[in-house]
């Protein structure tokens, strides 16, 4: 990397065509703000929350397996797992692919919340994801996400994506998660899960920057230009941090692990960002579930573990809480294509040095009727309210609209 501008001031100085800005109406304020902009003092005790989305609907019954229950094997003559199970207690075991998560569980750094869902479950991918991300009940259609409402409550609005502060939320992937959508405008940032920085920058980005540095006329064109530049400055900063980062754990090459590695880099750099969102896709296992699910959980377990080990080694583990979620679990009974169809409740993981560990909540009840779905026992908003009240230190009722019973993982 050669001398890439890291502040708007450098951006303007370095960019040939921007001298004219000094004469345009917006320039003075813009320049003044850049001049004042400093790297914020790192806040070492800031609590950070990392969300891992398991997109597609993770099969809960083959993640936390009720191996002592005959009913489970009756419902799943082909998919029921019995070999290599990683026992959690006399009734339940983790999927054989989750050896790292199992170790974390034994070390007390992983809580497993069982049978999480919500009343009147919806089985559409889109709608159920929306319900989880907006923390609404299944009858209400909300646009704002639960994290977005948290930003509304805690972050000052930054309509132009001001770089005086780091983004409130960072996500990996090509779409801003609905969880982040808010009423006010906040600085958010999305990054790719891979891409090498040591070779210099992506030529597509360089092309974009080149156009951004062209002359723009006053008014909306220059307003757009400034907003875009501010976002770019954040991008630069993030890229530098990631390029320089020395991980202290072996991250697998998977998308999830690489995403988490980037998150670790930003946490290590003491970004002000409080919430990170990464996603692992492919859980929609309607067919040939055994091999696919095995692979997905292997990736999940190894990725989460590398992330946690890395945080430990960098002494950041006390600051970080990581949670998984999926839009729904799957049907208790397997289908005719060696897979499972859309279902309802499922367990989720909460990981971190500060978690209480153990199995929380009620295990699902299995019934003989193959058409029956699981009845949830823990409302996912109880988990959110624990995160908000106990970890992010904000009144959960303000974000969720009401109080939900806490789940004691922190």
């Amino acid at each position: 990397m050669q001398n890439l501008p890291l502040t708007r001031r450098e951006f303007i100085r370095g960019a040939g065509g921007l001298g004219f800005l000094a004469f345009s109406g917006v320039a003075p304020a813009f320049l003044a703000r850049s001049a004042l902009a400093q790297t914020p003092a790192p806040e070492r005790d800031r609590s950070i929350f990392v969300i891992i989305q398991l997109a597609g609907g993770n099969d809960g019954l083959n993640t936390v397996i009720p191996y002592s229950n005959d009913q489970y094997y009756k419902l799943r003559p082909n998919l029921g797992l019995s070999n290599g199970l990683l026992n959690l207690n006399d009734d339940l075991a983790l999927h054989p692919a989750c050896s790292e998560l199992h170790q974390l569980f034994q070390d007390g750094k992983l809580s497993i919340v069982q049978n999480v869902g919500y009343p009147n479950p919806n089985r559409s991918h889109f709608r159920s994801t929306e319900i989880w991300e907006t923390a609404s009940d299944s009858e209400t259609f909300a646009r704002e996400g639960w994290i977005g409402r948290y930003f509304d409550n805690t972050c000052a609005g930054a309509p132009d994506g001001s770089v005086d502060h780091d983004p409130c939320g960072i996500h990996v992937g090509d779409m801003i998660p609905q969880s982040y959508l808010s009423e006010k405008s906040h600085s958010l940032f999305g990054m790719k899960h891979r891409g090498r920085f040591d070779r210099g920058q992506d030529p597509a980005d360089l092309a974009y920057e080149k156009l951004l540095q062209a002359d723009h006329i006053e008014g909306n064109a220059s307003y757009l230009q400034h907003t875009m530049m501010n976002t770019l400055v954040t991008e630069r900063r993030v890229e530098q941090i990631i390029a320089k980062y020395k991980a202290e754990a072996n991250y697998p090459g998977t998308k999830l692990a690489q995403s988490l590695k980037r998150v670790a880099a930003l946490i290590h750099a003491d970004m002000e960002t409080r919430v990170y969102f990464v996603s692992q896709g492919g859980y929609d296992t309607h067919a040939n579930q055994l091999t696919n699910h095995q692979r997905l959980l292997t990736e999940l377990s190894a990725g989460m573990n590398a992330f946690q080990q890395d945080l430990n080694a960098h002494k950041k583990d006390d600051q970080v809480l990581t949670m998984t979620f999926s839009e729904f679990g799957r049907r208790p009974a397997e289908n005719g294509s060696a897979g499972t169809d859309h279902g309802t409740a499922a367990p989720l993981f909460v990981m971190g040095s500060k978690v209480n560990g153990g199995l929380l909540g009620q295990a699902p009840e299995l019934v003989t009727d193959v058409k029956k779905d699981l009845e949830y026992s823990t409302d996912f908003r109880g988990i959110y309210s624990s995160v908000l009240d106990k970890w992010l230190d904000v009144d959960s009722a303000k974000i969720l609209g009401e109080k939900f019973e806490h789940v004691p993982f922190v």
Partner: protein, 502 residues
């Protein structure tokens, strides 16, 4: 004519609304008209426009008779929904079961909404519907309803269809029709408005947001008008009907006139108010022309002509879009595209179909800040620079990136795979820019390509500075990596400030 905003001193009121003289109808003007009146100005559209006069161009763009077909499943649902709810109430005893069945109906409606939203995007993307659908969006931003409150998809469709056919009628008539649309009756609580317990919500918004604007009526006018608008009900969950015994049939005094007025009378009285001549024109200017205030004298002049033409919307459209004021250089190239404009225009500019994945398309709209049929509140969306912040800008960039990224079909979930198949059957499978397509221009000189891109994708003020930058990005278009460089140049241009403006 200069780039400074016109005033009556520099640009006479008499001339402002006269048609653009023939000699001024050139490529620049055709592009301006197409980009503002529709969603894009593709080379073909510009060529076609220049073969016609501005008048013919506008006429053709709004030619009457268009209907966006109601999705079949939606019609089916609408015609049976009342009976299905009745059955639930009548036949099902168990309250738990009752709730479950109601939920299923709502879920069905939710799926229908998503289908309808996608059908609308397909329909509006079709260039011959674009001008009208954009005008429908304009009217939807006047007659705001929020899906979150109305919920019933068929009512939303029906309201939109009324707006669509209303484009050729006159505005007071359209106001009357809208006041009887179940979606509006529900949204502004007309259904609660009875002689015994008047609800003023609709009466207030009728004056404030549909016809007059704040300051042009009194609280007493609202109270009295609300009494006249009583008795509006919805029959069988789907249709308007007037229930005599809920209507207040005593005298009311509105705008100083006393009589036993009904709802339609109130709308007629409203259009006798001077403010009714200019209100919609101001909104029209905000939606199509500029965020800056335009001198009142111009607006009043057009208002008078409009009132003399019986508040005909076709007259307003035809006058506005070919007027000299509309083409004034001060109003070119500095208008932020709305997310819907950006998205549909992008597909048209790139000759792409709308991606067939509802969750991607509709979510992109959410992220960019314009959720289909779901404005933030009764005021509707705020246009212009309000569209722009770091989140929405990232959303726009993501949309562009997506169109240039090969599709990984293996990563699609079951629904998406079905949607993709359906799109291919309907010959709507061409929704991404492939390298094969980019290769077709490899070898065209960088200067020609830069010239073409800047001419057709962005407006005049940004062209000089962009042309050079693009040329240097494109480099030697016969050398290795040219396809990639062309791709990069296009992505950069479509993400640039200039492309977000029109």
């Amino acid at each position: 004519m200069s780039n400074t905003a016109p005033t009556p001193q520099t640009f006479s009121i008499k001339d402002a609304w006269k048609p653009l003289p023939g000699g001024f109808w050139r490529i620049e003007e055709a592009q301006h008209l197409l980009r503002r009146m529709t969603f894009s100005a593709t080379p073909e559209a510009v060529t076609a426009a220049l073969r016609q006069s501005p008048e013919q161009c506008v006429e053709e763009a709004f030619k009457p008779g268009a209907v966006m077909p109601k999705p079949e499943a939606l019609s089916e649902f609408e015609s049976t929904v009342h009976e299905r709810y009745r059955k639930i109430y009548r036949d099902v005893e168990d309250p738990e079961e009752k709730r479950k069945l109601q939920r299923e109906l709502r879920q069905e409606d939710n799926d229908l909404f998503r289908e309808y939203a996608m059908e609308w995007f397909y329909y509006a993307r079709d260039a011959e519907n674009s001008a009208r659908e954009k005008f429908v969006l304009f009217l939807q931003d006047v007659f705001v309803v929020e899906r979150a409150k109305v919920k019933e998809t068929y009512s939303l469709y029906n309201l939109q269809q009324t707006l669509r056919t209303g484009v050729i009628g006159n505005y007071p008539e359209l106001c009357k029709q809208v006041s009887k649309e179940p979606a509006m009756i529900r949204y502004l609580d007309l259904v609660q408005n009875t002689a015994r317990k008047p609800n003023e919500n609709f009466a207030r918004e009728l004056f404030e947001l549909f016809t007059l604007g704040e300051g042009n009526y009194t609280e007493a006018d609202i109270k009295e008008a609300a009494r006249a608008l009583t008795g509006y009900r919805i029959k069988d969950r789907t249709e308007f009907y007037f229930q005599e015994n809920l209507h207040d049939d005593r005298n009311k005094t509105v705008f100083g006139e006393t009589g036993n007025w009904d709802g339609d009378d109130i709308i007629d009285l409203t259009f006798k108010q001077p403010a009714a001549r200019t209100f919609l024109i101001r909104e029209l200017i905000k939606f199509y022309l500029t965020e800056q205030a335009v001198p009142e004298a111009y607006i009043e002049a057009l208002g008078e002509q409009w009132a003399n033409h019986n508040f005909s919307l076709s007259y307003l459209i035809e006058t506005f879009f070919q007027s000299r004021l509309f083409f004034h250089p001060a109003y070119r190239g500095n208008f932020v595209k709305s997310p819907i404009h950006f998205y549909i225009g992008l597909c048209q500019d790139l000759r792409l179909d709308i991606a067939p994945f509802d969750s991607r398309v509709l979510r992109s709209m959410d992220v960019m800040g314009q959720s289909f049929y779901n404005p933030p509140n009764v005021r509707g969306w705020l246009y212009g620079e309000h569209w722009i912040n770091s989140t929405t800008i990232s959303g726009r960039r993501q949309v562009v990136d997506y169109l240039f990224t090969p599709l990984n079909e293996k990563k699609l979930n079951g629904n998406e795979q079905r949607d993709l198949e359906k799109a291919r059957e309907a010959e709507r499978g061409n929704f991404l820019v492939t390298n094969e397509r980019l290769k077709q221009v490899v070898g065209t000189g960088a200067d020609d390509l830069a010239e073409h891109f800047t001419t057709y994708f962005i407006t005049a003020p940004s062209r000089p500075s962009y042309r050079g930058a693009l040329e240097s990005i494109l480099g030697d278009t016969t050398a290795d990596g040219a396809t990639q460089r062309i791709r990069n140049a296009m992505i950069a241009l479509l993400q640039s400030p200039a492309y977000n403006l029109c």
